[in-house]
């Protein structure tokens, strides 16, 4: 009896202390999430913003309309392109950098660590100005370098075929720092004795990497993959700054988040935008479930 009362007191105290935070979460996260879910089944648009009760319930119309909308389908394809190419690149490069920093580079380690992490914390607007300048076909350094070896570089952000690769390059460059830091931390925990034992068994160089480092880092790799995939599915800033809100030539840079932003905040088709946001949310949930299954079965 006393233990029950004590537990109840602890519970009340716990809820009491958590309540400011819980209230903030409820007001600023839960209510909008539920409201936008409800709005996704309405025709909520520019004419309803003064009196939101005037919006019509339209059932699943917004959702069916989305899949008949060329721009939305295009945005799903672009987002998939970004994720499918961007995630492996980020993981592989991040891992290789972490291993290199962990072993080879001695005194300059701190410098390199800062160098690769800097893009993560730098303002995207400043980055975009420099990148757009570097990728310019007339005055950019990239095509000037290509010209030195006799290659005529493409108009990176002007040609629909090279738009998404350019955005992926920026995305990967901006995010390898995060992956690298996680891998570096995980590498510190790998037991040295495993390498010694493997060496005794005759393993060398890449064999050590493949058979000791990678298996030991598997939880970290899967964790980073899940987090990066979820982030990349919602990619917004990179195409926004590189191609503008409309996604550039042939909408080659129009990602789903950009589509949501455009419909919601430029056109105020809030019902339609909410439906698009929830569709993207479903894709994220599905991908996350698949990846968590992988994580559980292998770890």
């Amino acid at each position: 009896m006393t233990s029950f009362a004590a537990r109840r007191r602890t519970n009340i105290a716990g809820w009491g202390m958590a309540s400011p935070f819980a209230a903030i979460l409820a007001v600023f996260l839960l209510v909008p999430i539920l409201a936008s879910f409800a709005i996704s089944f309405t025709s909520f648009g520019i004419g309803n913003i003064q009196d939101w009760t005037s919006a019509q319930f339209v059932g699943l119309d917004n959702y069916t309309k989305l899949f008949a909308d060329d721009a939305f389908v295009r945005s799903l394809r672009n987002t998939a392109y970004f994720v499918v190419v961007g995630v492996p690149c980020t993981i592989v490069i991040g891992l290789l950098l972490a291993v290199a920093l962990n072993q080879g580079i001695g005194r300059l380690r701190g410098l390199f660590r800062v160098g690769y992490y800097l893009p993560v914390v730098t303002s995207i607007v400043a980055i975009a100005v420099v990148w757009r300048y570097m990728l310019d076909p007339d005055v950019g350094i990239l095509n000037a370098a290509l010209a030195q070896v006799g290659i005529t570089g493409p108009d990176w952000l002007g040609d629909p075929r090279t738009t998404m690769p350019s955005i992926i390059a920026l995305g990967v460059w901006r995010n390898i720092g995060n992956a690298m830091v996680i891998f570096l931390a995980a590498l510190q925990t790998v037991d040295r004795q495993l390498y010694e034992a493997a060496r005794v068994d005759g393993a060398r160089g890449t064999q050590l990497f493949r058979h000791v480092t990678v298996p030991m880092l598997r939880p970290a790799i899967l964790f980073t993959t899940v987090i990066t995939s979820i982030g990349y599915l919602q990619v917004f800033e990179e195409p926004f700054v590189m191609t503008g809100p409309a996604g550039g030539p042939d909408q080659a840079g129009l990602t789903t988040s950009l589509f949501v932003y455009q419909q919601g905040f430029r056109f105020f088709n809030l019902g339609y935008a909410s439906a698009a946001a929830y569709t993207l949310f479903m894709f994220i949930v599905v991908l996350a479930i698949v990846q968590f299954r992988l994580l559980r079965s292998r770890a």
Partner: protein, 412 residues
């Protein structure tokens, strides 16, 4: 990476906390004879927002009991911020509103009808049309801009051209000659994704964007205009793509793009970028003609919101800014062209021959109808035009595809 999926979510929150704007004002306002009193909150954006304070000081001097608070908004945020403020019941008394936003804002039912005391016939017709939505007048034109031809006179001369092109054929010939003989990389720069440059060609051919609420870009005139517009890119006379952040000014000064269409703000930009000695190397000229030489008229209007607590003073301020003398004073402060035709008779507007070209062009300039979903239509126009320029087989099919896309959005 920002979690933008919650974008719509955040908007929903704005709506959840939105208080309904008090709209006890169903009657159109009247402008009282006396002096204005109280506080007037004015939102302006871009360059105008930065320097409007210099003008409002004069209004405050004439009306000692009034205080005008100017809020400057960054140009890219203006459209969204004004709409969000309406949604949140936080609209100012007066806002500077882009001419193509009027239909959309009128649809929100947040705008106050203009008092009858303001004579709308004193403004350029194209500008006055932009404040009329569904037969009602929701604002007042403040300043205007129109598009004209900018060209490099030195490159033209080298190419054997002595006069600005007056017709479509002459424009094409000039572009060809400037590229072939003038040594320029392109003959002209026609943006592939800007309806403000594209629609004038449709109007010039005798076509129009829409007839009532039916889009008419499937007309033979629109097909001809689209084909002509596209032919510059097809022949390599103009770039066939437009990048985010492309700046025509340095390209024009370098001479790679010796002609383009733009508004009056480019005069200052070119002077600044060209530096000393460049003033003899360029000029402006009216639009070249097909059936007509119609241009696009843009600029900004004043709108007063129904929710304003100081409606009469707000309209008094708006009326004051549209007087010819105030318009000329504002031109001297900002270089913005007066919407009021009478202001063009004042000496301040007679000094610069380039400015007179704009004045002449304003007599034949129009803007698209005030469709409530114009932002969406304009964006789709830009995207489809851009695709058509690179991949449509001819002008007729390009125009038809553009017409289908904008029709799917709808005029109502």
């Amino acid at each position: 990476m920002i979690r933008q999926t919650t974008a719509a979510v955040t908007a929903a929150l704005a709506l959840a906390v939105a208080a309904c704007g008090g709209s006890d004002a169903d009657q159109a306002a009247t402008i009282p004879d006396g002096k204005a009193t109280g506080t007037i909150d004015v939102w302006a954006w871009g360059n105008e927002g930065e320097i409007l304070g210099e003008l409002t000081k004069q209004f405050e001097a004439e009306n000692p009991d009034v205080k005008v608070n100017v809020t400057a908004i960054p140009v890219d945020a203006a459209h969204d911020k004004i709409l969000t403020s309406v949604a949140g019941g936080q609209a100012p008394d007066v806002a500077m509103v882009g001419t193509t936003w009027m239909g959309e804002l009128a649809r929100t039912q947040a705008l106050d009808e203009a008092p009858a005391e303001i004579d709308q016939s004193q403004f350029f017709e194209g500008a006055a049309d932009t404040v009329k939505v569904d037969g009602k007048t929701y604002g007042v034109p403040w300043y205007v801009e129109t598009r004209v031809l900018y060209y490099r006179t030195d490159i033209a001369e080298k190419a054997g051209i002595t006069e600005a092109p007056k017709t479509w054929d002459e424009l094409k010939q000039a572009a060809r000659a400037m590229k072939a003989k003038g040594g320029a990389k392109f003959g002209i720069n026609l943006s592939t994704n800007n309806w403000q440059e594209y629609l004038p060609f449709v109007w010039q051919a005798g076509g129009d964007l829409a007839d009532g609420e039916t889009f008419t870009l499937d007309s033979p005139q629109a097909a001809e205009a689209t084909g002509f517009y596209k032919s510059f890119a097809d022949e390599g006379l103009s770039p066939n793509t437009t990048k985010q952040g492309f700046d025509i000014t340095p390209a024009f000064v370098r001479g790679t793009h010796p002609m383009f269409f733009s508004g009056p703000w480019h005069m200052g930009l070119i002077e600044e970028a060209g530096g000393e000695g460049f003033e003899d190397k360029w000029a402006v000229a009216p639009m070249p003609a097909k059936q007509t030489n119609t241009s696009f008229v843009g600029g900004s209007n004043w709108a007063v919101f129904k929710s304003s607590q100081n409606r009469e003073a707000a309209w008094k301020f708006v009326e004051w800014t549209t007087k010819p003398e105030t318009q000329a004073a504002w031109y001297e402060i900002s270089s913005d062209l007066p919407a009021n035709q009478e202001a063009w008779e004042l000496p301040a507007l007679k000094e610069d021959p380039n400015v007179e070209v704009f004045g002449e062009q304003l007599n034949d300039a129009k803007s698209p109808p005030p469709f409530p979903r114009w932002e969406e239509i304009g964006t789709a126009l830009n995207a489809e035009l851009d695709k058509a320029i690179r991949s449509a087989p001819d002008g007729r099919q390009a125009a038809q595809k553009i017409n289908e896309t904008v029709s799917a959005i709808g005029a109502a």
